[in-house]
């Protein structure tokens, strides 16, 4: 099984949950400090949830200046699988590795509850072990989870089948019910739900396993020496 680098920013708070879940599924999670400028020998990278850099200015806005983001960007551009969960998704949009932005929830409230999401594409490091149409019960826990983007970007996401997860019942106002999207190269994925909080039925749901297992089973393109480039924006 593969090793997943889990980046810890000041204010991250889901990194241990991610490592615990990956370990339970037979993989390995290695904590990486945001102040380092290298990833080490990892097969994929997860940016976990939390409040990186206190969410100052905007969620994810300051994380772009963390030294490790340079290494993460380089890894992503060489085709390496990168998954941002919740705050990690916000960081990926702010860093320009995913398009769009996460605005405050439509209902004006912080939402913390289980939701159902449907797998829309299995061509991503987050969904490869699932099947299109799978409905997964996974919790969300966010204030700024309302995905938005320009009409042109939305048309592009739809045309290229880059919406990987959609909410069955939209909880936060996200455009086109989007819960997760991937990059043009498909190797960078962001999602608002927390699969690491649903990896065992004891937690209320074990559906997150499919998503985490996908990450663990994804063969990093770098090991084959190939990988589609990831355009910014």
């Amino acid at each position: 099984m593969s090793t997943v680098g889990v980046v810890v920013f000041p204010g991250s708070n889901c990194e241990h949950d991610v490592v615990e879940a990956l370990t339970a599924l037979g993989g390995r999670g290695e904590l990486l400090w945001h102040g380092d400028d290298h990833l080490g020998d990892v097969d994929s990278v997860v940016l976990p949830g939390g409040f990186a850099h206190g969410d100052y200015l905007r969620p994810g806005a300051i994380a772009r200046f963390s030294p490790i983001l340079g290494a993460v960007t380089e890894f992503a551009r060489s085709g390496g699988p990168v998954v941002g969960i919740c705050n990690g998704f916000q960081i990926l949009t702010e860093a320009g590795l995913l398009p769009g932005a996460l605005q405050k929830n439509r209902g004006l409230k912080f939402i913390c509850r289980d939701v159902s999401v449907r797998v829309e594409s299995r061509e991503s490091p987050l969904t490869s072990a699932s099947a299109v149409g799978d409905v997964l019960r996974v919790p969300i826990n966010h204030f700024e989870g309302n995905y938005t983007c320009s009409p042109e970007t939305l048309a592009e996401l739809r045309a290229e089948d880059r919406v990987v997860l959609r909410y069955v019942a939209n909880p936060n106002g996200s455009i086109d019910d989007i819960a997760g999207v991937c990059s043009a190269g498909r190797n960078v994925v962001g999602l608002m739900p927390h699969p690491e909080r649903a990896y065992d039925p004891l937690l209320g749901s074990g559906d997150g396993r499919l998503l985490l297992t996908s990450i663990l089973e994804t063969t990093p393109a770098k090991k084959h020496g190939v990988g589609p480039p990831v355009p910014a924006g």
Partner: protein, 81 residues
């Protein structure tokens, strides 16, 4: 020359503003029921050193676009003095 800068970061029209909505909902209780359209943004102040006003504005516009505001959801209005 040194310029005083005010960058106002505003949510673009149509972007959810829970703080503004909450303030607006609270005002009638204080007797200010005639207020509407409350929008909450950020005011960021700093000084910048530049040869002239045009180059100061160009630099501040760039830093606002690249960092202080997220162009997908926010607009930045720059005032120099």
């Amino acid at each position: 020359m040194k310029f005083d800068v005010l960058v106002e970061v505003k949510l673009r029209p149509g972007i959810a503003d829970p703080a503004g909505a909450t303030i607006e909902r609270s005002l009638p209780a204080l007797g200010f029921s005639e207020v509407e359209g409350v929008r909450v943004g950020k005011a960021i102040r700093f000084t910048v050193e530049a040869a002239d006003e045009d180059s100061a504005r160009a630099r501040v516009d760039e830093l606002s676009r690249r960092f202080l505001a997220n162009p997908v959801i926010e607009d930045a209005v720059v005032t120099l003095s």
